[in-house]
Amino acid sequence: MRRSLRIVLAEDSVLLREGLIGLLARFGHEVVAAVGDAGALRDAVAAHDPDVVVTDVRMPPDFQDEGLRAAVALRAERPGLPVLVLSQYVQRSYAADLLDAGDGTGVGYLLKDRVGQVEEFLDALVRVAEGGTVVDPEVVRQLLRRHRDPLAALTPREREVLGLVAEGHSNGAIARRLVVTEAAVGKHIGNILAKLDLPPAEDTHRRVLAVLAYLKA
């Protein structure tokens, strides 16, 4: 049994909000506060100190990217606060903005469609809560279509591996997907980090930096 998460949820559509509360409760998580706009989200986080925040991008009052802005602001105030942003758009810029806030760990950017794939969604939520980085496969797929610097130096296999890293998979998970050994995946990642000029360092998350480089390319 997974651990139970305390979640603050921000979603202006009542239909989806109630649905998500039910879904999360069904799998043993607790929604400690469910709010409908960005201001209330910040208040709720201050009041409840949740394990993870789940927020929509487009919210009142202006229905633009208030949810995303609130998430970025929250992460600036509380470094390391895990945030999962749900969007109805495949948008590299949203994901990049989010990863830019803080050190890029404990954030996720997923298409709203993913909540329908119940297990994958919950899996991503837990990974974000545990400090992982998750970028929606659809965004990754779009990025894979173009071949620009600095990613031009990567081989197709390395790009594939980097895409899976961006989706938030561990080396073991990637190895299973590509049907190779975990050591092979480690070697690919080592090559990727070298080609992206990310030397080993103690206090940076090189995987996240690689994903960031990937998003910004």
């Binding site: 202006d62 633009q64 810029s93 119940v118 297990e119 990025l143 910004k216």
Partner: protein, 445 residues
């Protein structure tokens, strides 16, 4: 300021007589008499000929010919030349010329003027001259008339019997006073005559300008209304159908999770996948209507997004002078007025779609620059060229949309390539007060 018309000259009555204006008015009226009488003669002959049918086109020509002469004659009393209202025929030859002329309103106005001139105007001119110039002249010449008649008696102006020299000189004195006095109404009538001629023969510029202004304004209104409607549809789909579909897939996902393996689980899986596909299609549709990235991040990011989506690899380059930096990440590209961003984005996207479909290009290059109040967008490809902008209805629509913003769209596409599409829109940087974040809050109740 020097007077430009007889009426303006009359506005300074004391200076008036010392200027050339009275004599110009007289010359205008006199030549009007001559020309009008001639026009009457010509028209009568042509009407006679038109009974034999050949006269009809000639009648048209008479109007056009007289119109030309009259416009030149206007310079006698008006300093501003009257422009030619006729269009230049598209092809050479008399037939093309006649076709254009016959369809123009100006031609028929000229014909109307010719008829008016031949029947009403020249006798009127003559009457004005007779009263304004003939009457004082007759009075002035009373002593001469008397002397010519032998000193006994003479009838001045056919009515006034003069029987002595004092009487004759009194009449001459009256003529001397009347001559300058009558020049005022004479000039005023010449001015009216010229104004009438100008009204009929000059192009109706003010009218035309008004109409163009009105058309531009209504086009801009239409474009704005279209844009607002687009956003409303996008919002409705986003807030309505899309949310419900997400909720549906979520419910189906849960049901799938809970269902025991068997036919029911398979049916649910199928329904779940279908709903997912619909959601993907709807997302693409909404993106096509109005990409949210354009509203949130501006043109540079939206172009990057369009480049991402292109099936042909696109190299993107954005640059701006000054770099107000309010918006687009990293590039320092400024936020531009909403209508400009939208028109430029859709032009770029249409161009990318077209080149992916038809050009056979392996690579494309998309550049956007904002400098000196001008947005320049260029889309180049290494394809086979030969693109015909006249056939691309999408591009025609875009050109229209750009025209509303005073923008232009041009394509060069020689056979063998490369195809280069250029968009230029004059525009300033969007001010902070009109940022979309404040603008859309009022647009939404």
């Amino acid at each position: 300021m020097e007077p430009r018309t007889p009426w303006q000259a009359l506005a300074r009555p004391r200076r008036f007589l010392r200027t050339g204006w009275p004599w110009r008015a007289v010359a205008y009226l006199a030549s009007g008499v001559a020309l009008g009488a001639l026009a009457l003669l010509v028209l009568l002959v042509l009407v006679g000929f038109s009974l034999l049918l050949v006269g009809l086109p000639l009648l048209l020509l008479a109007g056009v010919g007289l119109g030309g002469l009259e416009r030149r004659r206007l310079l006698l009393v008006e300093r501003d030349p009257a422009a030619d209202p006729h269009r230049v025929p598209e092809g050479p030859g008399l037939a093309a010329w006649l076709r254009v002329r016959a369809r123009e309103q100006a031609t028929w106005r000229e014909l109307a003027y010719a008829v008016l001139s031949a029947t009403v105007l020249w006798p009127l001119d003559l009457l004005v001259l007779a009263v304004g110039l003939g009457l004082p002249a007759a009075l002035l010449s009373a002593p001469v008339q008397l002397a010519a008649a032998g000193g006994e008696e003479a009838k001045v102006v056919k009515a006034y019997l003069v029987t002595s020299y004092p009487q004759a000189f009194a009449a001459a004195l009256l003529g001397l006073v009347l001559l300058p006095l009558l020049l005022y109404p004479l000039t005023a009538l010449a001015g009216a005559r010229a104004a009438l001629a100008r009204a009929l023969l000059a192009p109706r510029e003010a009218e035309l300008r008004d109409r163009i202004g009105e058309v531009t304004a209504s086009r801009a209104r239409l474009a704005a209304a279209f844009e607002a409607e687009r956003r409303r549809i996008e919002r409705d789909l986003h807030d309505g159908a899309q949310q419900r579909l997400v909720a549906l897939t979520m419910t189906l996902g849960l049901a799938r999770y809970d269902a025991p393996p068997g036919p029911l689980a398979e049916q649910l899986a199928k329904a779940h996948e279908e709903a997912g596909l619909v959601l993907t299609e709807l997302r693409e549709l909404i993106h096509g209507i109005h990409p949210q990235v354009l509203a949130d991040y501006g043109l540079a990011e939206a172009l990057a997004d369009a480049a991402d989506r292109s099936t042909v690899p696109v190299e993107l380059e954005v640059a701006a002078d000054g770099g107000a930096g309010a918006g687009a990440r990293g590039s320092g590209f400024p936020r531009l007025p909403g209508a400009v961003e939208s028109a430029a984005y859709f032009a770029a996207r249409e161009a990318l779609v077209n080149l992916a479909r038809h050009s056979g290009a392996g690579r494309a290059r998309l550049t956007a620059r904002h400098a000196d109040g001008l947005l320049r967008l260029t889309v180049e490809d290494d394809g086979r060229g030969g693109a015909d902008p006249a056939r691309g209805s999408g591009l025609t629509g875009l050109a229209d949309r750009l025209a509303v913003l005073d923008g232009t769209l041009s394509i060069t596409s020689p056979p063998g390539g490369p195809t280069v599409l250029r968009v230029e829109i004059p525009c300033g940087v969007r001010s902070a007060s009109s940022s979309p974040r404040t603008a859309s809050s009022s647009a939404r109740a």
